[in-house]
Symmetry: C2
Subunit: 338 residues, 2 copies
């Protein structure tokens, strides 16, 4: 029996989802609701590549050999130390008759589900990759399950820009949904000059925010964000310092945490008005710190775990970057800086 979440591809251990599996079946034959993609490039997750490069002292050949071995052994690219994967770009090769993806052979796509749950087989030994960067050109195939998602790469945008947008497209989508639940709310975005932060600011304004506040850690980011015009107010504050943050940022109805450092939970709760909502997008968020913090402050706030999936999120984010030159400029500057 096949499953839209790919249980039939789990080789071991029994009873887990593909993400938690140690080995997937990456054979190229697809079942009725699957899609096979001819892979062109992997984008390794930054944390994963950093760990591999560090372990091998920057020896590209050793990094390449390890990635090759991981994919061969696990049937997917999931760094065993960091647990993370990345995403991939490729071309649709075959679409099962019951697939609801809306894809057709020849479409150039990026996967929006993690490599950690995507069956993957490499046929060129990664020979075209020097092992020195997160972008891995390669030949092989990958499988999308019935419920896996992918976005067709737009022809009017630089693929690198499109990928960077798709990588964080859940943040603006969920921010917009929450903002629409309030009447002209004040929205504070911690980390407002970053990728997910700037998209969230733009999405909040489009969704009807009454006032947007971008919080950034230093004057350089403040200048960039102020120049973009994406926020009605730009505030320099350390998001890890709840007292300073609360002093600098008035009460917000919606607070969006896009700062990838630990310890921002209390500050985010403290700046949020009663009846407000905090959306945590940072993977550095501590569940216990948030839960106990709100209780300790008797803060009647709704706290959301940022779900990276919202229907339509990819198209909406690409539209946002098309329609908001300021976001596009911030993104392009970040891409060039790398």
């Amino acid at each position: 029996m096949t499953s839209p979440v790919g249980l039939h591809r789990v080789v071991e251990p029994d009873g887990v989802l593909p993400q938690a599996a140690t080995r997937l079946d990456a054979s190229p034959e697809i079942v009725a609701d699957e899609v096979r993609i001819r892979v062109e490039r992997l984008n390794l997750d930054a944390a994963s590549f950093r760990q591999l490069a560090g372990k091998h002292g920057g020896d590209g050949d050793a990094v390449r050999a390890e990635v090759r071995d991981i994919i061969a052994a696990r049937g997917k690219m999931q760094n065993p130390v960091t647990g993370s994967g990345g995403m991939l770009i490729g071309t649709v090769e075959e679409v099962g008759p019951e697939s609801a993806h809306g894809l057709k052979p020849g479409d150039r796509v990026a996967t929006l589900v993690s490599l950690t749950l995507t069956p993957l087989a490499i046929t060129d030994g990664l020979a075209r990759w020097d092992g020195r960067g997160e972008q891995v050109p390669c030949t092989g195939h990958a499988i999308l399950f019935g419920r896996s998602i992918a976005a067709v790469l737009p022809e009017d945008l630089d693929p690198e820009l499109a990928l960077a947008v798709l990588d964080v497209c859940g943040a603006p989508a969920l921010t917009a949904r929450v903002v629409r639940g309030y009447r002209a709310p004040t929205v504070a975005v911690l980390g407002g000059a970053g990728k997910s932060g700037s998209l969230s600011l733009a999405a909040a304004r489009r969704a009807g925010a009454g006032r947007t506040i971008g919080v950034v850690p230093n004057e350089a980011e403040a200048a960039r964000l102020a120049a973009s015009g994406l926020a009605d107010a730009v505030v320099v504050a350390d998001a890890r310092d709840p007292v300073a943050l609360a002093r600098a940022v008035g009460p917000a109805d919606v607070t969006v945490v896009c700062v990838d450092v630990p310890g921002c939970e209390h500050g985010a709760i403290l700046v949020t008005a009663d009846g407000g909502t905090v959306i945590f997008f940072s993977m550095a968020t501590s569940f216990a710190a948030a839960a106990l913090g709100a209780e300790g402050l008797a803060a009647d706030v709704t706290m959301l775990i940022g779900n990276g999936y919202v229907p339509g999120h990819a198209d909406d984010a690409l539209d946002l970057i098309r329609g908001e030159p300021a976001v596009r400029a911030l993104f392009s500057a970040r891409l060039t800086a790398h």
Copy 2:
């Protein structure tokens, strides 16, 4: 300048909230919005007491000495290893003129904010405690900040029962709020026979759930829950096994996680229908597992960090236990079993 969250009581380090402070000022003089309580008993958090008892090999005198030293050094009871505290019972002694607590001298209260942020001073050296249990009879005083909360202990309920209810009163309150946002939803409670779980089941039904499902780990708990009649269906399943859980529990509109073991995130997401909500009350919840799990499953579910504070939660939970003999029986059985 004084602060409703008690910043004026933080001695060190600078710029943190009382919960994160290493030392609080526990002097008895109150500011305008504070309340001083004459302490009668501390209820140490179970994890904290277990750590202390283990460290001292069950030597009650050594445990007592360490708790005394912690309170003297920190001005609050916060176990430096587990980071946890507990709650306390006492009598209101003095109420500041600007206090909005609604308390008056002589009220017997339980604090609903953690001991980890409550200024506390002990005057009897804990002489009446043998160091062998979580209940610590003592003499001293504690301070409530403007935003700290406390509940007056009801005269019609056994204090131990009331305390056990107050300890988890955030769960039924938030469950009810979420259930009211749907029309006759199906509600699944993982850990439905436990304290927060049984209260949540009762609250869900009162709030208009169309169908309630209690999920329990074994036949003994299933029998207890079935006998209580609190759930329309009782299911035995391992909440850590997403595949088995999804097979046993149909799609739910609201899923409430009250199981205090790690690894329940994927299962909870998988049993929740698109457009549904998962409420995580378990402190063992992994933020990253929840966020990445939902994205990997392309699950359009709202994921809430269970906030222990909802206005009115204490009174509502006490009303629930008064009006639902089945919940009361489950609670009393658990208290007796200890």
